[in-house]
Subunit: 190 residues, 2 copies
């Protein structure tokens, strides 16, 4: 299998995250990110309006995939089956760029309280988007909220396991297995 090669957009994201890890988010400038990525500042601005957007872009895409998957699940799907459909849709968009990015992003987040706070808010945002998508299917508030929380936990746990697996492995089986584990754990707790 040919080695994955990042385009300009991917190089900008990787360069930004590395710089955030090395010197902090606040002190990193757009000029530094562009230089590290080997592109001009105007190329940066073709892809992103500012450095903050680099962190938000991935979340928006993920949020959209999760909610689309939930919306398009079969009409008779249970709330957790709809969440599983969202996880599958999201997983289908994750590939070598995510594998490349994940450990660097983790390093940047571990090193920086501000990024930890953003990452935590991202999780809240994903859960809220999934809750909304479940409500739109007619799921009542309480199960919509809990199923979304389980979905976010499953995504997080499955993603972490996937990163440890062989490079050619698909993400979906990991997130779906994590959701099934959470369901079983929930049953034993209840």
């Amino acid at each position: 299998m040919a080695r994955w090669r990042p385009g300009a957009r991917e190089r900008l994201v990787l360069a930004a995250v590395d710089l955030f890890a090395e010197q902090g988010y606040d002190t990193t400038t757009v000029a530094q990110i562009a230089e590290r990525a080997g592109v001009t500042k105007s190329t940066f601005f073709r892809y992103f309006s500012d450095k903050r957007e680099i962190l938000c872009a991935g979340q928006q895409a993920l949020s959209q995939l999760l909610t689309e998957g939930i919306a398009e699940a079969p009409e008779n799907a249970t709330p957790l089956e709809a969440v599983a459909a969202g996880l599958e849709r999201a997983a289908s968009a994750m590939g070598p760029m995510n594998r490349e990015l994940a450990p660097r992003l983790k390093a940047a987040i571990d090193a920086n309280t501000e990024l930890q706070e953003r990452d935590a808010l991202k999780r809240v945002g994903l859960a809220a988007a999934m809750t909304e998508a479940l409500r739109a299917r007619g799921v009542p508030d309480a199960p919509a909220l809990l199923a979304s929380e389980l979905g976010v936990l499953a995504f997080k746990q499955g993603y972490a396991q996937w990163l440890q697996a062989q490079p050619d492995t698909l993400l979906a089986p990991y997130t779906l297995a994590a959701l099934e584990d959470l369901r079983a754990t929930g049953r034993s707790l209840a």
Copy 2:
């Protein structure tokens, strides 16, 4: 019942949160907080090392109460019963100051992305502390993690309902009812 009257520490917290809501967290200074609270700057520094600590102090106290309650639950308590013990312990420390503070804190958080991010991280921190306390009781990782997430959700939901209730109402019944609802919802989802 006599009206609750805040001491210097409480006045500083209320003044700080009001100023964060009015003009943002970043632009608020310790001098402004002290002035609004009607105390000197040196009084401020008797209670807090900086303005950030005003936001952290409540979380540390809450985290400690939750974990103490979990640690001291009866040996044969299930994970969710231990979490309920943590919620009861935490609720016992919540009184008129929290009722006074809560709507103002909500206004400050709603108005400020940075405070939203901190609030989200606070929730992650509470869940992590509860997970640790459950592990220390010998609860395996998966149920410890899920029971903690349910505990944090129950605290959040119960707290919001308590704020809507009559002033003399106790918090504990609300958080415990919310945990019981989540348990029942979890069972129906599974």
